[in-house]
Amino acid sequence: MVRWLWKKKVDDEVAEELAFHLEMRTQEHIARGLDPAAAREAALRRFGDFEGVKNTCREIGRRRDSEMRRREYFSEFRQDVTFALRQLIGHPGFTLIAVLTLALGIGATTAIFSVVHAVVLRPLPVPRPEQLVYVTTGTQGSGPSDVSVGNYVSLVDRQTVFSNVAAVRHSSFNLSGGETPVRTPGARVTASFFGVFGVPPALGRVFSGEEDQPGREQVAVLSDRLWRRSFAGDPAIVGKDIRMNGLPYRVLGVMPARFDLLAQPEDLWVPIAFTPKEKTMNDDHFLVVVGRLRDGVSRLRAERSLEPIAMEMRRADPRDNQGVLFRVDSVLEWMVHDYRTRLFVLLGAVGLVLLIACVNVASLLLARGAARSRELAIRAALGAGRGRIIRQLLTEHAVLALLAGAVGVALAAWGIHVLVAAAPADVPRLEQSRVDATVLAFAFGVAIVSSLLFGLAPALRATRASVIASLKEGGRGSAGSTRDRLRSVLIAAEVALAVLLLVGAGLLIRSAVALQRVHLGFEPAGVISGQVSLPAAGYKEPALVVAALTRIRQAAALAPGVRAVELSTQIPMARGGNSNGLLPEGKPLAAENLVQSQLSIVTPGYFQALKIPIVRGRPLSDDDRRGGQRVMVVNEAAAAALFPGQDPIGRKVACCEMGDSGGADYKLVVGVAADLRLHGPEETSPAAFYIPLAQAPDDAWNWIQRTMFLIARGDAAPAALAPGLRRAVAAVDPDVPLYDVKTLEQRMGSTLAAARFNTLLLALLGIVGLLLAAAGIYGVVSYFVTQRTAEIGVRMALGATPWTVTRLVMRQAAVPVACGVAAGLAASAVATRLLTASLVGVERTDPLTLAGVVALLAAAALLASFVPAQRAARVAPVTALQG
C-alpha cells in the first residue's frame, strides 16, 4: 500500500512536469502563429518519444526516492542510536540495573545453550552421522542387550540394509613400556569398524579384512590422545611394536583427534577374531554392534528387515535364541538420551529466569516511560508520528539489549568454564562447549527478542498517553488505572515464572534428600577398591589365574595399614559385571525357567568386608573348596524368583557350566544375602548370586577377561591405602597394574554426580528467579509509593494511621502476587511432567514442596512490599502536600 502510494507520487510528478513543458512549447508555437492543434502537434514532434522519456524519468525518480528513504532511515537510525546512548549514559543507575539484570538472564541462557548445543544438537564429526546405528538384541519387553557372536555372524551374513556393520568388544589393555604398566581403555573390533564411521586414519592405515582372522590379530590402531600421551606424538610410530598384555603388537595407524565418538573413551583398537566355535555361540552376549544404514534406509525399515533373520535364528537355536529380536537405534540418540531431557529442562529453567529478567526491565521502563512522557509529548507535538516515536523507543531498547548481550556473552564464557569444570565427568562431548559462532548468534538473537519482549508494551503504553494530558499534568505523567493494571500483570507474570522454577527445584531437592535416605544394603565407608586384569598370555590356565589372584590378595593384605583384602568380580557402584541364567532344581532347561542374575565370584570374606547382611543360612567359607560340594549364596531377589514362597536353603540351582556328567551343573544354595543397590540408590536391586573364587567355573575367566576387583579396609583413611596396594600388585607381576582405584564413597559420588549437579543448578536458578521476582515487586511498589506520595499525605492528614497506609500499599502487591502464585502452580502441574524421570521417592504434586514454594514466595513478596510500605507510612503529611 505504502509502496503503491510512493510509486503514484513519482508518476504524478513526472506527468505534471512534462505536461507543463509540452504546454509551454505549444504556447510558443501559437505565439508564432500556428493554430492550437498544429502547435501541440509540433510541440509533441519536437519532444520525440514522449512516453519513453516519461518512463525513463519515472524509473530514475523511483530510484531517487528509495535511496532517499534509505538514507533518511539510516540517518534517523543513527540519530536514535546516538540519542539512546546519551539517554543510557545520562541515567547510569537505570542503565546499570537494566543491563546487569538482562545480562544475567542472557548470560545464563547462553551458557546452558552452549552446553545443549555441544552435547545434544551438534552432529557427530563423521560423514552422514544420522546413518549410524547401534544394533542390539533382546526379547519382547526386555531391555536391549549386547549381541552374541553367533547372532552377529547371522546378521552380517544376511543383512541388506547396512552398507557396513561392525562388532566391538570394549576391553582394556595393560600397556607396558614406561616405568609402570598403564591400563588403557580400548576395544577389539572387526575390520569393518572404521569403515562404519567413515573417518580415515591420520597416520598409517586401519585393519584390513585379513587382520581380523585368528592368529593375525597382533596389530593395533592408536587414538590421537594415546599417541600423544604415551608415544610423544612420534611421527614414525607406524610399523613399530608396542607391548600390551605381555605381547608385542605392531602399530598400523593413528586415528585423528576428532575420532572421539562414543561415550566411553577408547584409546586403542585391536582386531577381534572369532574362532569357528565362537561363531556358533548364541548365549554369550558381549558385542556392541554398530552399523551404517544404506542411503535412503530408515531406522524403522532396517529394524523390520532384520526380523526374518531373527526368525531364522530363533528356529535354528530355540534354546539360546528364544524370542530374540533385533533392535536398531540411532547412535546420536543413544549417546545423549540420558542428558537430553535434563539439559532441555535446564534450558527451559534458565529461559524462565530470562523471562523474569525481561519482566523486571519492562517494569523499569514503564516507570521511566512515565517520567519521560513529557519529553515524548513534546516530540509528538513537534510532529513526530506515533510510529516514529515507537521506533525511537524500540531502538533505545535494542541498544540496551545488545549492551546486555555483550555483557551476557562475557558472563556466558565464564559460566561455561565453571559448568564444564563442575559437571560430572561422563557427560559426552561436554568439554566441547564453547562460545562459537552459533552460540554468539543465539546470544544476540535472544537479546533482540528479549528487547521486543520487555520493550514493546512499555513503548506502546508510553506513546498512548495523550499529548495534552501530559503537558497539562506538568510532566508528572498520567498514573491512570490502566497503567497500574499493566504493572500488576507484570508482577503476576514474574511471580508465576518464579513459582514454576521453584517447584521444579524444590521437587529435585526433595528427591535428592530421599536418595540420601535410601538403604543401600552395604556399608561404603572405609573401603577402597581397584581392579586387576591378568593378560591371556601367561595366564591361560584357570588354575594360574586363581593362583595369581590369591597371591595378589595375600600380598595386598600385608600392605601397611591394611586390615582385610577381598576379591570380587563385581562390586556396587562400578561398571561391568556378568549376568547368568539360574535354573532351579526340578525344572527343565528352557529360557522361560531361567532367572537372569548378576554373578559375583568372591572370596568368602566379601560379605563381611562390605557389611552385607546374611539373612538366612551361612555366608561362603574357606571350606568351600575346589572339588568339594559346589555352593552359592543368592540374594533375596534371586531367592524370591527361584523359589517363590519357599526356603531356598539346601535347594539346588544350576548355572554357569556343565556338570561332571555333561548335564546341567547344580550348586547348593547355602545362604541368602540381603539385597543391595548394585547400580546406585536410584535403581532397584537386581537378582544376584555369589560363588566362591575357589569354585569359579573355568569358562568364567574368559567372560570376565580375567579381571577382578580388589577391595580393602584398613586402619587409615581408605584413600591412603592405595600406594601400598599398588606396590603389592606390582610385586606379584610388574606387568599388571592396579587400576580404577577409588574409594566406594567416590564411586557413589560419581553415580550421583549427574543428578546432584542438575539439582544444584536448578536450585541456583530458582534462587536467582526468586531474587529477581522480589526485586521486581519491590520496584513496582516503590514506584506506587513515589507516585502517590501526595495522596498518602492527604490521607494521613485526614487521620489515616501508619498501619492503614501500610495496608493500602501492600494491597497493591497482594492481589497480583496471589494471581501469579495460582497461575504458576497451574503451569507447574503440566511442566513438572518433564521431571518425572529425575524424581525418586517424591510425587510430582508433592504437597510439602508446593506449600514450601508458596510460603517462600509469599514471604519474599511480603518483605519486598513491606519495605516501601513502611516508607509510605512515615510520610509526613505536610511535606507531602508541599511537595
Binding site: F20, G48, V53, I60, R64
Partner: protein
C-alpha cells in the same frame, strides 16, 4: 556552428549537465525555463532536446547536484523548480574547468595563433 547541428546528441558528453547547472546559478528554475534560457543565451544555436533534458534533471537530482521543490510559476501554475545544491556548485566548477582545458586543447590545433 551551423544550425543543422541542433541535435542534442552532438553536444559533447557531459556538456548538457554543465549547461543545466550553469543555468541554475542565478536561482531556481523549472525545466522549461532551463531549456529556454539555454536556447536564448545561445541565440537559438543550441536547441535542447527534452528527451535528454528531463532524464538529465532526474539523474542530477538523484546524485544530489540539484534539488527540486514544487512552486508557482510567473503565470501562477504549479511547477517543479530545480535549484543548485552545494555539491552541484562544486560539480559545475569542476566541469567548467574541464571544459576550459578541453576547449583550449582543441583550439591549439584547430585555431593556431
Amino acid at each position: 556552428m551551423p544550425k543543422s547541428s541542433n541535435n542534442a546528441n552532438s553536444l559533447l558528453h557531459g556538456t548538457l549537465d554543465a549547461l543545466v547547472l550553469k543555468t541554475l546559478i542565478t536561482g531556481p528554475r523549472h525545466g522549461y525555463a532551463i531549456a529556454r534560457w539555454i536556447e536564448e543565451a545561445t541565440d537559438e544555436l543550441l536547441q535542447i532536446e527534452e528527451g535528454s533534458l528531463y532524464p538529465a534533471l532526474y539523474r542530477m537530482e538523484r546524485r544530489g547536484w540539484i534539488a527540486a521543490e514544487w512552486g508557482v510559476s510567473e503565470l501562477n501554475r504549479r511547477v517543479k523548480l530545480y535549484r543548485l545544491t552545494p555539491v552541484g556548485r562544486q560539480q559545475l566548477a569542476t566541469e567548467t574547468a574541464q571544459w576550459a582545458q578541453f576547449a583550449s586543447a582543441i583550439s591549439k590545433i584547430l585555431l593556431p595563433a
